[in-house]
Amino acid sequence: MIVWVSNVSILLLFTAILAATYRLVVGPTVADRAVALDAIMVHILALIVVFAIRESTPDYLDAAMVIAILSFLSTVAIGKFMKKGVIIDRSAD
């Protein structure tokens, strides 16, 4: 049963990733594209976790952890880039 449920979950998560890709291509502003990229990262994380459940091996969770960290850092970096034009600034704020 768990394999069947995992297959359905993977299918639905792929649909969600496709929808977020639509927003990434169409999205009128840069912020929309950043939000869409964040959504794609989070859904890929969910996809990896579901795949780990389906295959019953916890090794894939390392990749999920790395993707969680990368998703947060890239979102914050895009936000800082949108606000100031630079990502790392050493001026006192």
Binding site: R23, A39, S56
Partner: protein
């Protein structure tokens, strides 16, 4: 029994993720979009991670803390990332939807020097 519980959490998580992405597609401007997406997909991913935790608690020989670490990190980092994007887009001047009722930060924005 355990398998049914895992499947239930998995389906709840996938449901919330898909609903959040539906909000990303349907909402009128970026503020509404991230408002719909960030909370719903946080709950979805956390539910999927709980399902994974239950599954590996019963199927794996060693108890692993990885799911819990990812869960805590996502629960802390997802709202912070959403806030960073939203603050940046408001300060840059991404337009609000024409159906917006009020903008409480309008005066602060005009006197903002950054």
């Amino acid at each position: 029994m355990i398998e049914a519980l895992t499947s239930l959490f998995l389906l709840i998580g996938v449901f919330f993720s898909v609903v959040g992405t539906l909000g990303l597609l349907r909402m009128p401007d970026v503020y509404n979009r991230i408002h719909a997406l960030s909370k719903a997909s946080s709950l979805g991913v956390v539910s999927i991670l709980i399902a994974s935790s239950i599954h590996f608690l019963t199927h794996s020989s060693a108890f692993s803390m990885k799911e819990l670490a990812i869960l805590v990190f996502l629960y802390l980092s997802n709202p912070v990332g959403a806030h960073a994007i939203l603050r940046a887009s408001y300060l840059v001047g991404v337009p609000l939807s024409e159906r917006t009722v009020g903008d409480a930060l309008k005066h602060e924005k005009s006197t903002h020097h950054e």
